[in-house]
Symmetry: C2
Subunit: 468 residues, 2 copies
Amino acid sequence: MQAEAIADPVIELPPVRDDDGYLTKAFIAAVEAAIEAEDRSAVLLLASNLHEADTGDLLEALNAGERAAFVRLLGSEFDYTALTETDEAIRVKLLEDLPNEVIAEALGDLDSDDAVYILEDLDAQDRDEILGGLSYADRAQLKKALDYPEESAGRRMQTEFIAVAPFWTVGQTIDYMREARDLPDSFYEIFVVDPAFRLLGSVHLDKILRAKRHEKVTSIMADRLDSVEATDDQEEVARKFERYNLISSAVVDENGRLVGVLTVDDIVDVIQEEAEEDLRALAGVGDEEISDSVLTIARGRLTWLVVNLATAVLASVVIALFEDTIEAMVALAVLMPIVASMGGNAGTQTMTVAVRGLATQELGARNMMRVLNREVLVSFLNGIALAILIGITAWLWFGSPGLGYVIAGAIIINMVFAGLSGLLIPIALEKLNIDPAIASSVFVTTVTDVVGFFAFLGIAALWFGLPI
Amino acid sequence: MQAEAIADPVIELPPVRDDDGYLTKAFIAAVEAAIEAEDRSAVLLLASNLHEADTGDLLEALNAGERAAFVRLLGSEFDYTALTETDEAIRVKLLEDLPNEVIAEALGDLDSDDAVYILEDLDAQDRDEILGGLSYADRAQLKKALDYPEESAGRRMQTEFIAVAPFWTVGQTIDYMREARDLPDSFYEIFVVDPAFRLLGSVHLDKILRAKRHEKVTSIMADRLDSVEATDDQEEVARKFERYNLISSAVVDENGRLVGVLTVDDIVDVIQEEAEEDLRALAGVGDEEISDSVLTIARGRLTWLVVNLATAVLASVVIALFEDTIEAMVALAVLMPIVASMGGNAGTQTMTVAVRGLATQELGARNMMRVLNREVLVSFLNGIALAILIGITAWLWFGSPGLGYVIAGAIIINMVFAGLSGLLIPIALEKLNIDPAIASSVFVTTVTDVVGFFAFLGIAALWFGLPI
C-alpha cells in the first residue's frame, strides 16, 4: 500500500457559493445529508465556521424540519446572529421551535442591536420569558431599546460603545480600549462625553491612530456633530447616513445624552428596504416575503386588486355612458383601450419619478413648479408624437381619416392629464401625510382611464354626430 | 451708548437645512443674494464650511448661471468633492464652464475615487486635457482606474490605502501611519501584502488599537479574505458588501495584487441606484435625472411608450376579431376593460416580486418550483374572489346572470395567466441575459390584455351564441 492510500481521507468540502453568489446545490445537499444522518460532526465541519450571512441563507434553503434539526445539531456552535439574516417568517417559526431558555442564553452573547432585532417580532409572552432569562444588565438594556418606537434609531442601535471624558489623552484612550470588556464586535469611532454623558463629539479611529499619545482627544475630535435622536425614524436616519457618507453615528436621547451607536451596515439594510418598499407599494404588494404562505400573500395582494376593481368599474361606467355611440360605430370599442393604456403608461412614468423624487427629497417646494412645467411639456410632446403614430394607424386600419383625428386628439388630452395627475397626485398625498407610493397609482390610473375613455368616445360622438 | 450697541453686528447665518432635511429657503436666498452682489466674503461665510453633500444640494438649488458664479467666487475654497453629490447633468455643465487647468489643479487634491467619478462623464478631449494638467503619479493612477470597465469596482475604488509587510508589528504599523503622507481622508482597515503586493489579509483599526505594540500584524489579521476583483461589476460588489455587512473591502487585480480599496459609502450609492433602477425600469423611465432637459426626458420615455403602443395595438387586434360579437351585445365593450385591467394589476404584482427576487437572489433555481406553485395558487384564489365580486356586479348591472358567469370565468383564466406570466417572463428574460426589470412589463401586460380580451369576448360569444 502506498502512503497516500493510508492517509486520513481528506474530506472535500463543497464550495459554499457559486460564481453568481448563490449557495451551491452541492453544499446544501451535503448539509441536508448530514442533518438527515443526525451526523453532528459533519454538520459542524460544514457549517460551524460560516459567516452569519451564509448561515442565514442556508437556513432559508432548508425546509422547516431541517432548520430546527440544524440548529439543534450545531448546539452552542449555532450563531444566533444568522437569524438577523433570514426572512421574518423563518426567524419567527424557528424561534417558536426552540426553548426560550436556550434563546435567552444565546441572546446574552449577541450585540444588543441583533438581540433586539430577534426579539421584536416575537409575541409579548415569549419575549417576556426570554427577557426574564437574561442577566439584569442585558435585560434592562434590551427593554429600553424595545421601548423605542418600531423602525426608530433606538431599535436599530448598538448600546455597546466607547465614551471617554474630554480631558483624556489619546494614550489614555488607547490603554482603556485595550482593557475594556463588553465592546461591540467592531467599531469605527469613539465618543467624547461630559460628566452628564451628554455628547460632545466623536473621534474616528484613524485619527486616534495617527495622533501622538499625549494629545487631548478634544484636539482631534470632529467639530461636526453627526448624531441622531433615538426616536428618529430609520428612514430619516438612513437619509442622513447617505447624504453625509457616514460609517457610524452617535444616538442621543431627548436630553442629548449618548445612548447608543448606529453603524452603516444596519443602515444599508434600511436603505435597501425603503427603496424596495416604494417599488412594492407602487405595484400593490405589501411587505410579503418569499417564504410567506399562500394565504398570507393572497390576502395581502387582494386588497389592492379590490381597490383597483373599483377604479376599473368607474372606467366601465364612463364607457356605459356611450353605449349607443359604440353600438353605432363598433371600431370605437376596438380602439378605446389604446387611449386608456397609453395614458396609464405615461402617468405611471411621471408618478414613479415623482414618488422617488419625494422619497429622496430631490423633489420639493423649491423645484415643484419647474418640474410641473416640465412634466406637462414632456407629456404634451410625447402626446403629439404618439397622436401622429396612432392617428395614422387608426386611419389606415379603418380607412377613416376622421377616426385618426379623433383618436389623436384624445391621446394628446389624455397624455397631458397623465402628466399632471402623475405629478400632482403624489404631491397631494404627501401633503396629506399619506404614503404616495401606496396610494398614487390607483388615483393616477383612474384619471387616465376615465379621461381616456371620456375624451375618445366623447370627441368621436361629437365629430361623427353619433348618438350618446 | 451701551456696550452691546457698539459691538460688532453679529451676522445671523440662516440654518442650512430644515427639520425635514431640505435646504432652507432662507439659506438658498442668502447665497443667491451674495452671488448676485458678487460678495465673495458673504459667499465664503455662508458656504465655505459646508459639508460636500450640502454644497452639492446647494448647487442643484441654484440656477445654471448662479452655479458658475458660485464656484468662481469660492475660488480655491470650493470643494470639488461636492460635484460627486450633484446630478450628472449639473456636474457636466458646470465642468464645461470651468477652465480645464482649474479642474486639473482641484482634482489633484481629491481622493482618487472622487476624481474618477468627476472625470468619467466628461468627453475624451476634456478628460485628456485635464489629465495632462495633473502630476505624473496622479495621472497614471487615474488613467489606470479609468481603464477599468464602467460601473466596475476598479472605477469606484480609492487607490490610497495602507499596506504593510507580514513581519511588521502593531507598533511599527502605528508609527508608519503617523508619518505616512497621501493617506485617504478616512480608512477603516489596513492591508497585509507579500513582497509582490499580493493581498494576504486585512486588519481592522479597532483590532490594531486593542493589540499590544509588539504583536505581529499577522496575529490579529482577519482570516476571512474579503476582497473583490477590480473588474467585478459594482452590483455584484454591492451584494457582497450587503451580504457580509462590510465597511470596506480590498480590491485586487487578476493576479491577486492589491490595487485599491472600496468603502461602504460609495457602495451605499450603488445599492440605492440599483434598487431604484429596477423601479424606474419597471415603469419605463430610464436613468433620467430631475435636472435633465425636457427633450432628453421626453425622448427617454417615448421609446417605452411606443413599445407599449405596439402591445396596445395587439390587444385591439384581438378585440377587432370580435367586432360582430360586440355589435350584438355592447355591454361586452363596457365590461371588457375590467378583465384586462385586473389581469394587468395581478401580473404586475407577481412580476414586481419576481424582478426583485431575481435582483436580490432570493429567487433562484432552488425555490423556483415552490414559488411557481405558490404564484399559481395565489392567482387562482384571488381570481375566484374577484370573479365572485365582478360576476355579481355584472349580473346586477346588466340584469343578466349569464354575463356574470362569463366575466367570472374570464377573470379566473386571466388571473392564472397573469400569475404564470408575471413569474415566468422575468425568469426567462434573466436566462436570456436581458434585464427582467426593463422588459418584463411589456410582455406581461401583453399577455394579460390579449388573454383578458380573448377569454372574455370568446366565452361570451360561445355562451350567448353570438356572431364572431
